[in-house]
C-alpha cells in the first residue's frame, strides 16, 4: 500500500475552503446566461430608462438617475443572489449533491459556500451597475454611494435564501427560466422599475408586503433622505426568515445523513 503522508483526518471547517469557493464563482461566471441577466441586463436597463432622465431631480435635489441606478443595482443583486442560491437545483439535478456526499464536506459548509458565492455575484452586480452609472454621469454624495451600495448588497441576502429555498424545492436544471419572470414581478412590486408612488394606491398597499419592497426603499433612503421605517426593516427581516427557514427545512430533509 502507498505510504501515507500524515494520518486520515477530516477537513477543517467542514470542508469550507477558498479553492472550492473560487471554483464555484468561476463556474458561475462561465455561464453566459447568468452573466447576461445579472451584469449586462441591469446596465442596459439603466442606459435605456435611466439616462433619458438625466438632468431631472428628485424633491430634495438629488438626481433621478441615481434613484434609477440604485433600484437597478438592487435588481441586479437580487437576480444574482437568487441564481447563486438556485444553483443547488442544478447540482441536485446533475447528481453533484450526491457526489458531494461521498466527500467529507459538511452540509453547512456546502450551504455557506453557496451563500458566499451568491453574495460575491451580488456584489459584482452592484459594483457593475454603479460603475455604469458613474461613467454615465450620475453624481451623488460619497456616503450615498457607499450606504446605498451596502444596503443593496446586504439586502440581497434575502434572495440568496430565496434561491436556496427554490433550489431545494425544484430540482430542475432550468430553474432560473421560471424564476426570472417571478423576480421581475417581485421587482415591479418592490418599486424597482417604476416608483410605487406613480402606481395606483392599491398596488402600493399590496407592494408593502412583498419581499423586494424593504430592500428597495432602504437602499434608496440615503439618496431620497426618507427615514427608514420599522415596517421596511420588518419586511426584510421577515422575508429573510421565511426563505431562510424554508430553505433550512428542505435542506435538512435533502441532506439527512445516515
Amino acid at each position: 500500500m502507498t505510504t501515507y503522508v500524515g494520518e486520515r483526518r477530516t477537513p477543517r471547517l467542514g470542508g469550507l475552503n477558498p479553492t472550492y469557493l473560487g471554483l464555484e464563482i468561476r463556474r458561475t461566471l462561465r455561464n453566459r446566461r447568468t452573466l447576461f441577466f445579472i451584469l449586462i441586463m441591469p446596465a442596459v436597463f439603466f442606459l435605456l430608462f435611466g439616462l433619458p432622465q438625466k438632468g431631472e431631480a428628485l424633491g430634495n435635489g438629488e438626481p433621478v438617475t441615481g434613484y434609477i441606478m440604485i433600484s437597478l443595482a438592487v435588481y441586479g443583486a437580487m437576480v444574482a443572489t437568487t441564481s447563486g442560491g438556485a444553483m443547488v437545483a442544478v447540482e441536485r439535478a446533475q447528481g453533484w449533491s450526491r457526489q458531494l456526499r461521498l466527500t467529507p464536506l459538511r452540509p453547512t459548509a456546502y450551504i455557506s459556500t453557496k451563500v458566499l458565492s451568491a453574495m460575491t455575484l451580488g456584489l459584482a452586480a452592484v459594483v457593475v451597475e454603479f460603475l455604469v452609472g458613474a461613467v454615465s454621469g450620475v453624481r451623488m454624495p460619497a456616503h450615498v454611494w457607499v450606504l446605498a451600495g451596502l444596503a443593496a448588497w446586504v439586502g440581497s441576502l434575502v434572495f440568496a435564501a430565496f434561491g436556496l429555498f427554490i433550489g431545494y424545492l425544484v430540482p430542475a436544471e432550468n430553474v432560473m427560466q421560471f424564476l426570472g419572470p417571478i423576480l421581475a414581478v417581485l421587482a415591479m412590486f418592490g418599486g424597482l422599475f417604476v416608483p410605487l408612488e406613480v402606481l395606483p394606491h392599491a398596488f402600493g398597499e399590496i407592494a408593502k408586503w412583498t419581499p423586494v419592497y424593504g430592500i428597495g426603499t432602504i437602499a434608496r433612503s440615503p439618496l431620497t433622505g426618507d427615514t427608514v421605517t420599522i415596517a421596511e426593516v420588518a419586511n426584510v427581516v421577515a422575508w429573510t426568515l421565511v426563505f431562510g427557514l424554508g430553505a433550512a427545512r428542505l435542506f435538512r430533509r435533502d441532506t439527512a445523513r445516515v
Binding site: 502507498t2 501515507y4 494520518e7 470542508g15 471554483l23 463556474r27 457526489q99 461521498l102 467529507p104
Partner: protein, 311 residues
C-alpha cells in the same frame, strides 16, 4: 503491525474491510436487500455479481451511507459509513451522473480535492486514471469512458482503503472498458480492497478474486472464480434406471440434486465421473447421458426465478 501511521494504530485489530450484517432495505412492498450478510477482508478484489434489480446498487448505497438500512448494520474498517467517508477510508465510482458539466476535468478534481483532509496530488490521480491529457477539457465534452475515469480519479484522491465501483463500465465501448480495467487492476496490485458491482459475467470472471452472486437481495453463491466455475461446470447425468434410490445417489460426493422421472433418473453434480462410475458399476443403469452446463448457464440458473433452481 508493519505500518506505523497513527491511523493504522487507531484501527481496530482485525477489522474487516466490509462487514454487512443482516442488511435489509425495503422500498414499499419490494425488499431490495433481504437480510444480506457479507464480510470482505482487506486486500480482496470482490465482484458483486447479479442481474439488474438484484439489489447491488442499494447495497452499495448503504455501504456509502447514501441510504439507510431498514435493518442490519454496515461497518467499513470498523467504522460506520459516514465516518469512513469523512476519513476517506472508502471511496466510490458511481454508475452515472455526479459531475458538473461546466467545470474542466482538472477543476473537478481540484474542487473535490479541496474538500478532503488529506489527499494525493491532483496530477498524480489524473495520471493514474489516464486522463492527464484531457485535464483542460470541459466535463460536458468528455465521452462516457472519460467521465468514468474522471470519477475514478476523484475516488483515488483520499487514497481510500476500500474502493467501491458500481457498474463502472456501463455504456463504455470495448476499448474504454479495457483501459478502465487496466487502471483498476494496476491500482489493486498495490493492495487496495476493491468491490465492484457488475452484471457482466466476463468482468467478474476476469478481474475478481472472489465473486459474490446476488439475487433478490440475497447472496446465492460466494466463492473464488474457480469455485463458481466448478459450480457452474456442474453436469447433469441422465440414465434409465427403474427403481432408482434417490437417497443413495444424493449421498454421492458432489451431487447437488437428484430427480426421478418414471424410469429415468437425473442427477446434477459437480463431479459427473463419480456419479457415472457409480451408476454403471453399482446399479443397473443404462443409456447414460452426460450434459454439461457452462458459466453462463450457471449464472442464469442461480440468478433467475425458477422454483427448481431455488437454493
Amino acid at each position: 503491525m508493519e505500518k506505523t501511521s497513527l491511523a493504522e494504530l487507531a484501527e481496530p485489530v482485525g477489522a474487516a474491510a466490509v462487514r454487512l450484517t443482516g442488511l435489509t432495505k425495503r422500498f414499499g412492498s419490494v425488499t431490495a436487500v433481504d437480510d444480506l450478510s457479507l464480510s470482505i477482508e482487506p486486500g480482496e478484489v470482490v465482484a458483486f455479481l447479479g442481474p439488474n434489480g438484484a439489489g447491488k446498487t442499494t447495497t452499495v448505497d448503504m455501504m456509502l451511507g447514501l441510504a439507510r438500512p431498514d435493518a442490519g448494520s454496515v461497518e467499513i474498517y470498523g467504522e460506520k459509513p459516514s465516518d469512513a467517508v469523512a476519513h476517506g477510508r472508502i471511496a466510490a465510482v458511481m454508475q452515472s451522473g455526479g459531475l458538473l458539466k461546466d467545470l474542466t476535468v482538472a477543476e473537478t478534481v481540484r474542487m473535490t480535492a479541496s474538500l478532503f483532509g488529506r489527499v494525493r496530488p491532483v496530477e498524480e490521480v489524473l495520471t493514474r486514471a489516464g486522463i492527464l491529457g484531457i485535464a483542460d477539457r470541459r466535463v460536458g465534452k468528455c465521452s462516457g469512458g472519460q467521465q468514468q475515469r474522471l470519477r475514478f480519479a476523484m475516488a483515488l484522491l483520499p487514497d481510500p482503503d476500500l474502493m467501491v465501483l458500481d457498474e463502472p463500465t456501463t455504456g463504455m465501448d470495448v476499448e474504454g472498458r479495457r483501459e478502465f480495467w487496466a487502471a483498476i487492476r494496476q491500482d489493486a496490485a498495490h493492495g487496495r480492497t476493491i468491490l465492484f458491482a457488475t452484471h457482466y459475467l466476463d468482468e467478474a470472471d476476469a478481474y475478481a478474486d472472489r465473486i459474490v452472486l446476488v439475487r433478490h437481495g440475497k447472496v446465492v453463491a460466494d466463492g473464488t472464480a474457480a469455485e463458481l466455475k466448478g459450480l457452474a461446470a456442474g453436469r447433469t447425468i441422465r440414465a434409465t434406471l427403474p427403481g432408482a434410490d434417490p437417497v443413495a445417489l444424493a449421498a454421492l460426493p458432489g451431487v447437488d440434486q437428484v430427480e426421478v422421472r418414471g424410469d429415468s433418473v437425473l442427477v446434477r453434480a459437480s463431479d459427473s465421473d463419480v456419479v457415472a462410475r457409480h451408476l454403471l458399476t453399482a446399479t443397473g443403469a443404462r443409456d447414460l447421458e452426460i450434459t454439461s452446463r457452462n458459466l453462463e448457464d450457471a449464472f442464469i440458473a442461480l440468478t433467475t426465478d425458477s422454483k427448481e433452481n431455488d437454493r
